[in-house]
Amino acid sequence: MDWDWNFVWEIMPTLIQGVKITILATLLGSVLAAIVGLGIALARRSPNKAMSRTVGWAAEFIRGTPLLVQLYFIFYVLPDIGILLPPLVAGVIGLGLHYGTYTAEVYRAGIDNVPRGQWEAAKACNLSARQTWSHIIIPQAIPPMIPALANYFIAMFKETPLLSAITVLELMNQAKSVANTYYRYIEPITLVGAFFLAISLCSVVLLRWLERRYGKIER
């Protein structure tokens, strides 16, 4: 079977549509993962043992099971108890929850890396817990986390094709529907691969820059 450039141009608009949805899902998923991760990290530091244990186990469970099955769970099981979600929303929630458990570890490491002396100094300066977090701990903890967080967002971007399994019309699903309509697989699937490779290679360059910019902290 030969590569047909005319066919490539013909299907390009459809695929671009898919790319938009893919990027949208990644962005929304990243925001949700960043928030969920922070929530999990804070809950695990909570002095309440029951709370930190439960959240820890839940996070461990989510991290140990496949994203695809979690997506099915959100999309097919939740309607049984009356929560009907549009596919894209279900997908974003799935991505956000799954990667939230990963980003939680990044936050944890970032917060743990702030030296003890900083906490003690904050206490010595009579700062409240709120002031300690917002003025002392967070500003020092965030920059070293940025490359690691970006790394997970790139990983998330590469998992978005799974959303096609719950009928989100993202890049992979558009490619599949094109392939099934014309019964030509070679161009659509190869193009999807090329799109992903192009975007991830660009994001790797961005990541290297982030690492140079934020990776090292001066002590």
């Binding site: 140990g64 099971t65 099955v69 049984d80 998992e159």
Partner: protein, 219 residues
């Protein structure tokens, strides 16, 4: 009253396929990891370039796209694969690319003095690698290999989309036949989690065994 025992049989069959895929994929991933990881450290430019291209390509595109490529596009260029072969190939090559970076990092983490000692003892490149560097590097690699194996286990759920009857696929069958969504999906989530726990437990005990007799070697 639904005949859950019969459906449980289906789920168990699926679990066996998932385990088979994970094992075979891990073996392929391990081989690729060492080939590509050592390739990146090679003296020869061609080997380095090949290994880098392999790693960047497989880390840059999504496992899902690679799987579809293996299953739908390779037959068009004359390489017919069964779903199982396509699954093992895609999973092994994908995770192998990630693990290759682990191999490279672990080998590079071994101190300079070890290499100098190899030269001083007149060991060739191969002998030094085999008897001095790798035994120490393996211990550094193991924990990350464990994480990679869990990633591979989770990625196996994707093969259900190319009609391979793994856990996720069987859960869909049970769901279609019984109309019950909650039970099959909750069951397989638990099974995946148990398998992941088994892997991390196995890797930890392997690590303990390999660390024996190496006390004091690493500081």
């Amino acid at each position: 009253m639904t005949q859950w025992s019969g459906y449980l049989g289906l789920i168990v069959q699926g679990a066996l396929v998932t385990i088979e895929l994970t094992l075979m994929g891990s073996v392929l991933a391990l081989i690729m990891a060492f080939l590509a990881g050592m390739g990146r450290l090679s003296r020869f430019f061609v080997l380095r370039a090949l290994a880098t291209a392999y790693i960047e390509f497989f880390r840059g595109t999504s496992i899902f796209v690679q799987l579809f490529f293996a299953y739908f596009v390779l037959p068009l260029v004359g390489l017919e694969l069964t779903p199982l072969q396509a699954g093992v190939l895609a999973l092994g090559l994908n995770v192998g690319a990630y693990a290759a970076e682990v191999v490279r990092g672990a080998i590079q983490s071994i101190g300079r003095e070890q290499y100098e000692a190899c030269i001083a003892l007149n060991l060739g490149r191969w002998h030094g690698m085999r008897h001095v560097i790798l035994p120490q590097a393996l211990l550094v690699m193991l924990p990350t290999f464990g994480n990679n194996a869990i990633e591979l286990l989770k990625a196996t759920s994707v093969v259900s989309l190319i009609s391979l009857a793994d856990l996720t696929f069987q859960a869909q069958v049970v769901r279609a036949q019984t109309g019950n969504t909650m039970v099959p999906f909750a069951t397989i989530l638990v099974i995946y989690f148990i398998l992941a726990l088994l892997i991390s437990w196995g890797v930890r005990s392997l690590e303990r065994r390999m660390a024996r007799g190496l006390d004091g070697v690493r500081v």
